[in-house]
Symmetry: C2
Subunit: 445 residues, 2 copies
């Protein structure tokens, strides 16, 4: 596709918003989390903005703070299959774990979603950092970070082989000869590995995109190595331009090291915009949300990020010492995110209460309160400075915050020639400007 957009925008669809207290805000709809119409309306706003994709996270467990935090949304693969029929062009990215499922099951559900949506499916590959999830799948405790990534690597290999197992032109449905499919073009994969033995072929034809787009969000050393090898889009949490540039350069060069075109990986840092018609108004809007937070909720989230470490022993209104935190390298959950948090503490030296407010908006992702032009400036700067290929937009509130972004920021990006005014392609690969992979089993002509 020549006419792909200069920048790419994904919307990370939350429950009621990415701000922890969003459900208490009048711009959200906490009573609609199991109502399909709510997601249809949200998707319609994003599609009206011509976003490349929308994305659903997945933890495989409820959080510990269901008393005070809106949760219990629909399951991603079923929800996106339902949204496929309610949308026309926007990409549909579901999170699914490699730790708690079988590759054959997942390969065919994503292949099916890709068929249902006419080539708009993407898979956010996660290894599930949540300790709660482990308890729902027979494990007394989470597997180690390294074990999870080792399994993930083999898992993705199996899934890609399965997607390739029917060549694109395997079906002939030729009534004259009685040949439904050309069995020379449907292949057993006979995978025999450490974690999986899978015979194949898949039980449905190759997805329209060849492979649904592979997305990843690991940022630890293992996570980056994995992403550099497989990912076609990367979600990442970055606070500072310099850190984001370093991450960008590192991942792109690692990808080149695997023989890949660095343009074949789109890097999308998280950005949670809070808009106002003046900077002062934007700040007030941010404070208004932060004032709704409940410290007990923030404390639990922070504790989860550090493998259950207890922060309640520290006074809320005193600066919290950097040395008090467990070292990120020992964290078995999401290593890179604990580092982001630690960097904030070292840089800003907040009180514990201040840190909780600071994290309530983006949980380590960049929160930016400002005018539409200031948000657009930030986006443009990061893209021009090779810190990003676009952004993972994380509205503080949904639908209100998403609609504001679409109506106020997107038009500025368009006027600056940065973002598409119309979809040029039909598939998610086309939106992101990604090559469609050939089947590994296809004979070269």
């Amino acid at each position: 596709m020549s006419s792909t957009s200069r920048i790419h925008l994904n919307v990370f669809v939350p429950t009621t918003g990415h701000h922890e207290a969003s459900w208490l805000h009048p711009g959200t709809r906490p009573e609609r989390l199991t109502d399909i119409a709510y997601y249809r309306e949200t998707a319609a706003i994003a599609e009206r903005g011509r976003f490349d994709s929308l994305f659903l996270a997945d933890q495989l467990a409820i959080g510990r703070s269901v008393k005070h935090v809106a949760q219990g949304k629909l399951e991603p693969l079923t929800l996106l299959s339902a949204l496929a029929g309610a949308t026309e062009r926007i990409g549909l990215i579901a999170t699914a774990s490699t730790t708690y499922s079988e590759p054959y099951n997942l390969a065919r559900q994503f292949a099916s979603l890709d068929h249902i949506s006419g080539g708009r499916a993407g898979w956010n590959i996660v290894t599930s950092w949540s300790a709660e999830a482990a308890g729902n799948f027979g494990l007394a405790q989470r597997n180690s970070h390294a074990d999870r990534y080792r399994r993930a690597t083999e898992y993705v290999e199996v899934v890609r082989k399965l997607w390739d197992s029917w060549e694109d032109d395997a079906r002939r449905h030729d009534r004259t000869s009685g040949i439904y499919a050309d069995t020379d073009r449907i292949h057993a994969i006979d995978h025999q590995g450490e974690a999986f033995r899978v015979r194949g072929p898949l039980d449905l034809p190759r997805p329209p995109q060849g492979h649904p787009v592979l997305v990843q969000a690991g940022s630890s050393d293992e996570g980056r190595a994995f992403a550099a090898r497989y990912a076609e889009a990367i979600f990442t949490a970055q606070q500072e331009l310099a850190d984001a540039q370093a991450f960008y350069a590192d991942v792109k060069s690692r990808a080149a090291g695997f023989g890949r075109d660095p343009d074949g990986i789109k890097i999308l840092p998280g950005l949670s915009p809070i808009l106002g018609s003046t900077e002062a108004e934007a700040r007030r809007n941010e404070e208004e949300l932060n004032d709704l937070t409940i410290p007990a909720v923030g404390l639990k989230h922070l504790s989860q990020r550090f493998d259950g470490f207890d922060f309640t022993v520290f006074p809320l209104d005193e600066p919290i010492p950097v040395e008090a935190f467990p070292r990120p390298a020992t964290v078995q959950g999401a290593q890179s995110r604990s580092q982001v948090i630690l960097d904030i503490v070292a840089r800003e030296r907040p009180t514990l209460r201040g840190l909780l407010r600071r994290l309530a908006g983006g949980r380590g992702h960049k929160v930016l309160a400002g005018t539409p032009a200031a948000i657009a400036d930030h986006i443009q700067l990061w893209v021009e400075q090779r810190a990003a290929d676009g952004f993972n937009i994380m509205p503080a509130t949904v639908p209100a915050g998403l609609a504001d972004f679409v109506d106020e920021v997107v038009p500025i990006l368009r006027r600056r020639g940065l973002f598409r005014t119309e979809y040029a392609g039909r598939t998610l690969r086309e939106h992101y400007g990604l090559v469609r992979p050939a089947s590994r089993y296809a004979r070269s002509a």
Copy 2:
């Protein structure tokens, strides 16, 4: 619901039709198996006929005859999620295996489908008889029939606990008090069993139906015991009225033995109607389909039914001796179906070719060629004679054969006061006249 229909109709949605050679017939669309619009159109015909439900089977592997048999349709849970938005009232039943998946994953996908469809989800619980499926999930061979049913029993217990884990009124989303959910009404299930350890709760609220409707199709002794305990609708393959009556009486009395209301299980034998305006024309239509069959395909299917036994050693045009078949009790795949086939052989003494043609239509299910009135008579007789509560309609061709049934047979059933003219309820439970279960965790008031 007082106004439930006297009989119940499910349509078993196939690839191109239930006749093995259906894809070679002009009434089918073999090139559309991955086209969501094809399924939307099929569902619309069934909904126009006011069917209780539509149903998708699932084998977790392609059959061995992909060269000559249309296959490779969309995955059931994603497909039904997509169809939920394209339909209004019809129930949506997906097959899913208890042998090759984790109960937590399945529980939430069905719960999600139930939310998406407004209470129209059903689960056809299977243990996967296919030997090919085992190879896609790391097993050199299938688990034994008894082991599969033992695991299925524990699996269903876990899933039902998970569906109950949020009580119906657990969510409060009360902005004034800051209470999103009442944590006294969200329960860990702490299941510790032989095959599964699952902590819970589920990560989404209770399905609108409480539990999606449980459907089952096992007919062996173990299968019946399982169905009598859990199933709310049963698919079964019966050729003869007396056999169907015996099955009906047996399952209903077994259910009573579990303390259940026998009316809480709807028994739906398979019926593959082939219509004609005269009986002679119907027979010609059947012969036309049978003439399209390829003996090699039928031989492979027959062999699969008997754990790979090789039937090619017998001459095609001689009667095949009953003694030649393996005993059903030793069959590790679908025991009951092999018995149905053996009964046909004993009763009709066909040549091998004749048997293959005989099975090409319904694979052991009843195929009935006749006028619309004759089909309606059969349905009425079996229901009045307590052999069925309705039927699992298996059109020989789709869409043609399904549309014929809806346009020609359904009106007769209506005129006779047997079948609904309009949906009275909104949920699948209401269509079938089934009680909505309370959560096991709900405090009695």
